[in-house]
Amino acid sequence: MLELKPPLVLLSGPAGFGEYLKLIDHRFVGAVVLKTVTFKPRGGNPPPRMAEGPFFLLNSIGLENPGVLSFLEDLPKLAVPTIASFGGETYEEYLEIAKLVKDKAKEFVAVEFNFSCPNVKEGGLTIVRDKEKWRRLLVELREILDDSFLIAKVGIEGLFVEDAAEMAYQAGWNGMTLVNTVRGLIVDKGKILLGGLSGPILKPIALRAVYEVKRRFPNLYVIGSGGVYSVEDAKDYLMVGADAIGIGSALFKDPGIVEEIGRYLLEVRR
C-alpha cells in the first residue's frame, strides 16, 4: 500500500517536475506526480495553450516533455516522495517505456501511466478505445514493472471508469487517478480552442467517478482529482472513498492551498 503523509499529491501536469516545491512547505506534500513523460521528446502544442472561464480552465499543453531517455538520464531529485508518470503514443511505446524504466522504477514510490491525455493525436485518451487491447496492455505493463506500485490515470471518456477500474484491478494494478481532464472546446474571440477541461467544473464528475470505483473496488488506491480548491473539497473526496487527494489547477490560483489541505489531512489521518 502507498503510505503518503499527508495523502495529498500534486498532480501530473500542473506540478511540472516539482517546481512548486520552491513555494510550498514540504511537510504538507505527500508526493509529486511528475509531468507525463513520453517515449519520444515532445515539443507540445503551439500556443495558445490555456484559457479560463468562470469555473474552468482549458489547457492544450500537448505533453511537452524531454522524452523517456533524457528523463532517465537526469532524474528529478525532489525533497518529497515522487511518482513518475508515463504515456505512449502507441501500444508498443507504452511497453518500451516500461522496459526502459524498470531498472530505475525503485526511485519512485509509484509509477503512473497516463491513459487519458485529451491533447495528443495518438495515444493518450485514444489508447483505451479498444478495450481488449488496453486490457492486454495493462497485463503486460504489470508483468514488466512487477515490483512497482502501478497507478492508471483515466478520464471519463473512452469507457466507463468502473469498467476501466475492473480491468486495472484484474490486471493487478494497485491504484487509479480519477479523473484526468475532459475534452472541451471554447470559442474565444471568434477562434476555436480545443483542450482538456479542469477546475471546479470537474469536481462533481470526478466525485462520481471515485464513488463508482471505490464502492466496487475498495482495495484499489484512488487518488481523487478534479476541482480541489479547498479543505471542503478535500472532505468531499474523502467521503466518497478517495485514498489521496490530488491538487492540480488550484496550484495556479494559490499554492498556499496545498498547505491548508495538507495540514487538514495530516490531522484527520493521524
Binding site: P14, G16, K22, M50, I61, E64, F252, D254
Partner: protein, 220 residues
C-alpha cells in the same frame, strides 16, 4: 522566489483603462522580472515589477473582473515572485512602452541609462515622468525619431501590435529586445502554458524570458 502578501498603498489612474497600484512592502528584483498575483479568478496574473513614487508598484490594465478587482476592491494581494530573468544592459538604451509598463520603466531607470517613451492610445491623465505621446500617428513619428538616434539597445514592452510596428522600424538595429506577455498560469516553469514560438522552437516566457531578442521571435 517566494510567496508573500502585498498591502495596497495607493492607486493612480493612468489613462482610460490602465492604473498604477503601489504597495507598502518592497522586495528585491531586477528590471524585467515579474510577479504572479492572485485574483478572484482561477489563475494568477503576471505583472511586471516596478516602482511608482519610490514604492514597489505594478501597472494594471483592466481587462476583466480579475484586474478590476485588483484595482478597485482588493486591499491585500497574495502573490509570488520575483520571477523570470532580469534585464540589465550597459550602454544607452531606449525603452518604448505602453502605459501598462510605466512602473516597470522606473525600475529600468534605477538600474540603467535609458530614455523612456510612452505610447498611449488614449489621453494620459497623470504626469508619468517620461516623454509621452498619444495616438498611433504620434507614436509612429516618435518611433522613427528614436530609431534615427541609434541607441546601443532598444527594448519594447506593450501590445502585440505595438511590438510588430516597433520591430518593423527597428529590425536593422544591433540589439532590439521585446518583453513578452503570454497567458501564464504558474510563472515558474511548471505548467508550460506560456509557450511562444521562436526561431529556436518553443520557448517559455516565464523561464526563458520574459525578454527575448527580436530576431529570435517569429513575427509572421
Amino acid at each position: 522566489m517566494e510567496r508573500f502578501c502585498l498591502t495596497k498603498r495607493d492607486v493612480f489612474r493612468v489613462n482610460e483603462d490602465t492604473w498604477i497600484v503601489s504597495f507598502e512592502e518592497t522586495i528585491d528584483f531586477l528590471p524585467g522580472q515579474f510577479l504572479m498575483v492572485e485574483t478572484p479568478k482561477l489563475v494568477r496574473k503576471p505583472f511586471a515589477l516596478g516602482y511608482w513614487g519610490g514604492h514597489l508598484a505594478i501597472s494594471v490594465q483592466i481587462k476583466g473582473v480579475g484586474t478590476s478587482w485588483i484595482v478597485h476592491e482588493s486591499k491585500r494581494l497574495k502573490a509570488h515572485g520575483p520571477l523570470g530573468n532580469g534585464f540589465v544592459k550597459p550602454g544607452k538604451g531606449a525603452l518604448l512602452i505602453s502605459p501598462t509598463c510605466v512602473t516597470m520603466a522606473w525600475a529600468f531607470k534605477k538600474f540603467m541609462d535609458v530614455d523612456v517613451i510612452v505610447g498611449s492610445r488614449t489621453p494620459v491623465l497623470l504626469d508619468l515622468g517620461f516623454e509621452t505621446v498619444v495616438g498611433d500617428e504620434a507614436f509612429l513619428e516618435k518611433l522613427r525619431e528614436v530609431s534615427r538616434k541609434d541607441y546601443d539597445w532598444y527594448l519594447v514592452a506593450g501590445s502585440r501590435s505595438m511590438e510588430k510596428v516597433c520591430w518593423e522600424e527597428l529590425k536593422g538595429k544591433r540589439e532590439v529586445y521585446f518583453s513578452l506577455e503570454e497567458y501564464m498560469a504558474c510563472g515558474i516553469g511548471a505548467c508550460k502554458s506560456c509557450a511562444t514560438l521562436t526561431n529556436f522552437g518553443i520557448k517559455h516566457v516565464c523561464t526563458d524570458g520574459p525578454v527575448f531578442r527580436g530576431e529570435d521571435l517569429c513575427w509572421s
